[in-house]
């Protein structure tokens, strides 16, 4: 028995040394190493042919099965609604759509990386790594298919968005253009009732520099409001209102991320000097922002556990935030409209007002903010594009999938407001992942209140659409960063940022002490190498323009 164990272990050692042998000989992968790996090769080959066969087989049937993956918690009552939706899809284009909501979207990346079977998926520059997967060749090239098979989808939206989708001159995803627009003008959102209560003139911060605004808000709004409502939370410093993790918020500092904008990305440009990449954490703005956050933390405007509690949706739904970042425009000065704080469904529970601070810009990342990509290995690439065209043009189908059945899942009350049925079909506000909500014949694709407010919304969306057409394009539009030369540095920088950024930006630690340490560690991890690499690629791109 003992001997058996020995021999087993010895085999293990031998296999290890054999494989290590393979590793040693890069240029000369000679016969000795290939003998050891032959077995593995044949199994790998067998696997790949197998998967190719199974994907092909789908074409034979009358109805083509299309698997669509998106990021969401499970939908209520999905079967009932999908059955109705598929009746339409089958009749129109002879396809059957299966939607799979994934609660943890890293699953999608695993499916992509392991060559799993899927046809379409939601992708973006902030979730689903659009640029990375497009560069890897995981997504199908749609540059020629789009105008041909999906003319409406293609022609409806500003050309600058398609420009932003291009990777090496090719389009790998279909933009889910939304009625709330793609150009950005950032602002802040306040509790209307509380601002009134403490006598804060929210309109006065319009167009202000972000730091002046934050300081003014602190004394005139936060301090008295927190005193009157000690159970409220001043500012969601860890997530949606974190100006250094919320990618779009760079615009508050007149800046934009270069290439990628996931947590851990290093490298901004300033619109006043759009050819120089810099490390945003080494900027004075970062220090100043963190000092304000520190003050707010010490005053109790930011909760003590902000750095560790990252899921803020329960607090948002309970309407506990006093003010937050508003990504939408126009604000309530230019276009007054009743609204609530984010994730609050009942307007009266937490009425809100918004005010814009920045200029209107079409960011480089506007295209892949929300898009749908097709698997380059799918047997039904063309069918997928046809399906997207159908979803984008058939209002009945789109509304069914995104909002359920009228009268069952949502209805209009006496005042004409949209009311979602409790426990009805609901896709957790993820309609933007399914298709475009914009329709140039009007705004019929989203259930709008059938009263004056609804009309107002439509007017507002018309203003936004106009804005998208005229917004100044970012100086980075069309630039794509290829991170392969600095992967090691990115891995280490990401780890450092994940460790230190939240405590610093929530004010949980003293910024004057911690930021220098943070910068030192970023430097060791290779932050300046990443900045140099981005600068080099940007220079090359600018030169080629």
């Amino acid at each position: 028995m003992k001997r058996k164990v020995i021999s087993l272990l010895l085999t293990g050692v031998m296999t290890m040394s054999l494989l290590a042998g393979c590793g040693g000989s890069t240029e000369t992968t000679t016969s000795e190493s290939s003998a050891g790996t032959e077995a593995a090769e044949s199994t790998a080959a067998a696997e790949s042919t197998e998967s190719a066969e199974t994907t092909d087989s789908a074409d034979n049937g009358d109805v083509v099965e299309i698997d669509f993956y998106m990021s969401s918690t499970p939908f209520n009552d999905q079967e009932r609604v999908m059955e109705k939706a598929n009746a339409i899809i089958e009749e129109e284009i002879g396809a059957h759509l299966n939607i799979f909501p994934l609660a943890d979207y890293t699953t999608m990346q695993l499916m992509i990386d392991t060559g799993d079977e899927w046809d379409m998926c939601f992708t973006s520059n902030w979730l689903g790594d659009y640029y990375g997967n497009a560069q890897k060749g995981a997504f199908a090239d749609l540059t020629e298919l789009l105008p041909e098979l999906a003319p409406e989808t293609y022609n409806r939206i500003p050309a600058s968005l398609w420009e932003g989708m291009k990777v090496d001159g090719k389009i790998y995803g279909m933009v889910n253009y939304q009625i709330f627009g793609s150009s950005k003008r950032l602002g802040l959102r306040f509790r209307e009732d509380i601002a009134e209560e403490v006598g804060f003139d929210w309109q006065s911060v319009k167009g202000m520099d972000i730091f002046d605004a934050l300081n003014k808000i602190e004394t005139e709004y936060l301090a008295p409001a927190m005193e009157a409502h000690p159970d409220m939370i001043g500012w969601e410093a860890q997530a949606g209102s974190n100006l250094f993790t919320q990618a779009q918020a760079a615009q508050f500092f007149n800046s934009e991320y270069v290439g990628d904008s996931v947590v851990g990305s290093i490298g901004w440009i300033n619109y006043d000097d759009p050819t120089t990449v810099f490390n945003q954490y080494a900027s004075e703005d970062f220090m100043e922002y963190c000092k304000i956050m520190r003050r707010w933390y010490e005053n109790g405007y930011i909760p003590a556990d902000a750095a560790t509690v990252t899921d803020t949706s329960p607090d948002r739904q309970a309407g506990r935030y006093l003010f937050e970042v508003a990504l939408g425009w126009p604000d309530d000065i230019d276009f007054p409209l009743d609204k609530a704080m984010s994730m609050v469904t009942d307007i009266n529970a937490a009425p809100a007002v918004e005010v814009s601070l920045t200029d209107l810009v079409m960011p480089a990342a506007a295209g892949p903010t929300a898009a749908v990509a097709v698997n380059s290995n799918s047997a039904n690439i063309e069918k997928c594009v046809e399906l997207m065209e159908l979803l984008n043009t058939n209002d009945e189908l789109y509304k069914l999938i995104c909002y359920g059945e009228e009268g069952v899942d949502y209805s209009y009350d006496e005042e004409g407001n949209v009311v979602y049925t409790d426990g009805g079909y609901f896709i957790n506000y993820n309609d933007y992942q399914i298709a475009q909500s914009y329709d140039d014949e009007g705004f019929d694709r989203v259930p709008m209140a059938q009263n004056d407010r609804g009309k107002q919304s439509e007017e507002m969306y018309a203003v936004i659409y106009e804005g998208d057409q005229t917004a100044e394009a970012s100086p980075l539009s069309g630039f794509v960063f290829d991170p392969s030369n600095v992967q090691t540095e990115i891995a280490n920088v990401t780890a450092v940022v994940n460790e230190m950024l939240l405590p610093i930006t929530t004010g949980s630690v003293d910024p004057e002490e911690t930021i220098p340490e943070f910068l030192d560690r970023l430097e060791t991890a290779g932050a300046s190498k990443i900045v140099e690499e981005k600068q080099a690629q940007l220079d090359a791109w600018l030169a080629s323009k």
Binding site: M16, G264, T308
Partner: protein
Amino acid sequence: MSKASKSNKTVLSAEEKQRKKRRTAIVIKRQIPFYILMLPGLICLAIFCYMPLPGILVAFKNYNWREGILGSPWVDPIFKNFEFFFESDVAFRTTFNTLFYNIIQMVLGPALAITVAILLNEIRGKVSASVYKGAILLPTFLSWVIVQYIMYALLNPGRGIFSSVFGIDANFYMEPSYWRVIMPLVYLWKGFGYSSVLYVAAISGINTDYYEAADLDGASRWQKIKYITLPMLKPTFMILMLMSLGNIFRGGAGDWQGFVTATNDSGMLYPATDVIDSYVYRALRTLNDYGMSAAASLYQSIIGFVLVLVTDRVIHRIDPDSSML
């Protein structure tokens, strides 16, 4: 003369070889049923432990699934995937933490488990013994997420039991030094039940004749434990020790999720709670770089493997009966 004797010897040994061969053939034949019994286990071992071994190649490759494990290009230089870990400024910190917690675990874990096993063995009531065993074993089967919430209910500043009931006003999730104590406690609490059950099984395997003889000689309970139970547990202890040694470079002896979940993944605790695995997980999870992840894991495995072999040889020197090989 000498030549003749030499050839004689070879002839003899050839004969002996023949005889030996026959003997082994007979022995093997007799043992066929045992081999059949072993077969399912061996097949599982082959499928789950040996078939994935070629995957080690990924550590030296710039892996992309399109070209597969063998088709993907080699990285240049060949150890580039390993650079990421050794170049990071936390290589020392995470290695230290990993060893720190594992050594505490290796010392306190068996001590606690053996003590509890002996105590359990002294309980005569059948019902109470199984109730205790079940209660001790339960934490082992709790998922880390449940442990995370139990701890959060205890430690949360302001609303937690420690602060609201006992008035301990400390923000546990922001102060790394507490966790040098908390983490070993949690791992002990979660893990000792499992190993004490192993020891209980080993104790019940001890021949009762020894105890009866000791009773006749008038040995006290303590003497029986000291001179019979503990020495008899040595082989079990050694094997468990060797196995945990193989995992010494893995966070939490392989069960590293606790360092991510139980701490609420709070960045401020990393100086005390970041182990190699949790660092690799955090750095590479969003990057999807399989080469670097595989390299980190290969490094841990090789060190663990070498450590097991070396220790086993050392044990063999000291006490040949307790070694595995």
